[in-house]
C-alpha cells in the first residue's frame, strides 16, 4: 500500500529584499512518509516551517526543489483534493456568509451530492459544536467558533487524509478536548491525520508518530517515546522527612538538590545512578519516598536547544544554511 503522504527533499526558498536578490530558506530538504491510518504530529516552534510544509502540500506555494505526493498523486493533482481535507492556520472565511452557507458552498465545490449536502453540513456543524449560531454571519463569530467551522469544512468530503494546521489554536479547554476527541474519532474511522502543533501535550495524547522540525529542517522523526531526544536522561525523586545528615549523605550521588520545604526535597539523579538501589537507603534513614519520575527533555527544552543550535550554525555558515542565494 502506498503512503498517505510522501515528501522527498522538499525545499522552499523565499526571496527577500526590495530587488528579491537574497533568498531565505524556509524549508530545507524535508523528507518523510506517513502511512495510511496514522495520526502524525508535525511539531516545531513558531517559524520552524510547519505552515510552509502544509502550504506546499496544498500547493498554495510552489517548492524550490523536491516533490510531494498525497495518496500516491502529486500535490498539484486537482482531482486528488476530493479525497483530502485541510484546515489552514488561523482560518478566515467570508464575513457575509453564515456558517451553514459557507459549508454548503464548499460542499458544492467538493461535489457532495445535493441530496446529501444539507444533512452532512448539519451533522458536521453539530459535531463541532456550532448550534443555533450556524445561521449567523461569520463576521459575528469568535475566533474559536471560526476555528470550529474551519474544522467542519475540512471534513465535509469525508476525506481520507486530513491536514490540520494548529487545530487547537484559538480554542478554549473544552474546545481543545473536543478537537482531541475528534482527531481520535478520525483515527478510529481509519483516516490519516497530519496535524501541526507547537504543543507537546497534544502530540503525546494523539500521535502514533511525530516529526520535529526546527529552523526549516527535520530534527527528529519517530514515536515520541522512542525518540533519542526524549529518552530518559535521569531520575527525579521527591523525598519527605529527610534529615540534614541524611541529605548530606545522598548529596554526592545527585546532580541537583532542591528544597521544597518542611523536610521535603527533590533529588535529581543521573541516569547511571540506579534509583532502586537508593530507595532502601532512603527508607533506612527514616525518610519517605513520595514520588519517582524519569526525567526527559521536554519539547520546549528541545526547541530551545535546536533553535540555539540553528542560530549558531547560521552564524557560522550563513550563505549555505539560510541565505541560500547569498
Amino acid at each position: 500500500m502506498s503512503s498517505a503522504v510522501h515528501i522527498e527533499g522538499l525545499t522552499k526558498d523565499y526571496t527577500v529584499g526590495f530587488w528579491g536578490r537574497r533568498r531565505y530558506r524556509a524549508l530545507d530538504r524535508l523528507a518523510l512518509s506517513i502511512e495510511p491510518g496514522e495520526v502524525f504530529g508535525f511539531l516545531g516552534p513558531n517559524g520552524a516551517g510547519k505552515t510552509t510544509t502544509l502550504k506546499l502540500l496544498m500547493q498554495l506555494i510552489f517548492p524550490t526543489s523536491g516533490r510531494a505526493e498525497i495518496l500516491g498523486r502529486p500535490v498539484g493533482d486537482v482531482a486528488a483534493r476530493r479525497r483530502i481535507g485541510y484546515l489552514p492556520e488561523n482560518p478566515y472565511f467570508y464575513d457575509y456568509l453564515t456558517a451553514e452557507e459557507l459549508l454548503t458552498y464548499f460542499a458544492q465545490l467538493l461535489d457532495v451530492p445535493a441530496a446529501d449536502r444539507r444533512r452532512r453540513v448539519s451533522t458536521l456543524l453539530d459535531r463541532v459544536g456550532i448550534g443555533r449560531e450556524r445561521r449567523f454571519q461569520l463576521r459575528k463569530f469568535s475566533k474559536g467558533m471560526v476555528q470550529r467551522v474551519g474544522i467542519a469544512q475540512a471534513l465535509l468530503n469525508e476525506p481520507e487524509v486530513v491536514f490540520l494546521d494548529e487545530p487547537m489554536s484559538g480554542l478554549d479547554p473544552l474546545g481543545r478536548r473536543d478537537v482531541r476527541a475528534l482527531i481520535l474519532e478520525l483515527r478510529d474511522q481509519g483516516r490519516t491525520v497530519f496535524f501541526s502543533s507547537h504543543i507537546l501535550a497534544d502530540a503525546e495524547a494523539l500521535c502514533s508518530r511525530v516529526a520535529i522540525i526546527a529552523g526549516g529542517r527535520l530534527a527528529a522523526i519517530g514515536r515520541l517515546g522512542e525518540l533519542a531526544e526524549f529518552a530518559v536522561g535521569g531520575w527525579e525523586l521527591v523525598v519527605a522527612n529527610l534529615t540534614p545528615e541524611a541529605l548530606e549523605r545522598f548529596r554526592p550521588l545527585t546532580t541537583r538538590v532542591t528544597a521544597i520545604g518542611a523536610g521535603r526535597y527533590t533529588l535529581e539523579l543521573p541516569l547511571a545512578q540506579a534509583p532502586e538501589r537508593l530507595i532502601p537507603e532512603i527508607a533506612a534513614t527514616g525518610a519517605m519516598l513520595v514520588s519517582m519520575n524519569p526525567v526527559r527533555e521536554t519539547l520546549e527544552d528541545f526547541f530551545v536547544r535546536r533553535v540555539a543550535e540553528a542560530g549558531a550554525a547560521e552564524r557560522a555558515d550563513t550563505p549555505e544554511r539560510h541565505h541560500a542565494g547569498g
Binding site: 523565499y14 502550504k55 496544498m58 500547493q59 498554495l60 506555494i61 510552489f62 486537482v78 482531482a79 486528488a80 483534493r81 476530493r82 483530502i84 481535507g85 485541510y86 484546515l87 489552514p88 488561523n90 482560518p91 478566515y92 472565511f93 467570508y94 457575509y96 456568509l97 458552498y105 464548499f106 458544492q108 465545490l109 467538493l110 461535489d111 474551519g150 469544512q153 475540512a154
Partner: protein, 268 residues
Amino acid sequence: MRAVRSIALNVFRESVRDRVPYNLVLFAVLLIGSSYLLAQLTAGQDVKIIKDLGLAATSVFGLFIAIFIGIGLVSKEVERRSIYALLAKPISRPQFIAGKYAGLVLTLAVNVAVMTAAMYAVLGYMTWIETPAFKASWEAPGTDPALLKAMALIFIELMLVTAIALFFSTFSSPILSAALTFGLYVAGSLNADLRNFEQVVDSRAAAWLARGLYHVLPDLSAFDIKTQVVHGLPVPAAYLWSTAAYGAAYIMALLLGTMVIFSKRDFK
C-alpha cells in the same frame, strides 16, 4: 463548470450583501429627480438629456463597480487568507479566476439591466405626458430601442474594465490596481487620438510609439456610441458585432494573462 458557477454565484451573493445594489436606488433617484427638474428647465431637450444622463450614469456607476469590486475580487481573498481553504478544494486556479470574473460580470449585468429598465421607465413616462406635436420635434423616439445598442456596448466595455482590474489585482496591491485600471481606462478612452498622432507630430519615432500604443491599449472609445444613439443616428449592426468581437478578444487575452500569472503565484 460547476465549480466556476458556484464561485460566480458566491461573488454575486457577496456583492448583494455588500449592498452594491444600493447604487441602483441612487441611480433611479438621480434619474427620476433630474428628469423632473429638466422637464421644468428645458424646452424640447429633456428627453435627449435624460438619455444622455441615463447612459452616462450607467457607464460611470458600472465603472465604479467594475474597478472597486474588480480589484478586490482576488486581493481580498488573498489578504484575508480565505483563499487557503478554497484552493485546497478540487478547483484549479484558472477555474477560480473564471468564477470570480463571471460573478462580477453577473453583478454588472443585473446592474445594467436594472438601470436600463429605470431609464426606459422614465423615458416612457416623458413620452406619455408630452403632446404629439411636441414629440414630433424629437430627433429619435422617446423609448428608442437603439438605446439598447448603446447599453450593450457599455456592458461589454464594463466587462473589459473588470478584466483589466482583475488582471492588475493578481500581482499588485489594491490601491495600485485601482490606479492602474483607472489609468488604463482613461488612456483607453483617449486611444482613438493615438491612431492619428502621426498627423500632428513630426517625429517618426513618436508616431511609431503612438501607433504601437494604439494597438496595445484597449480602444475604449469604440464602445462609446452614446452620441449617435441619442441623436438618432444609425449604428450599423456590423459595427456592433465587430466592436463586440474586439471586446471579447481583449477580454479573453486579459483573462488568459490573469490565469497564467495567478497559476504561478505563491500565497505566503
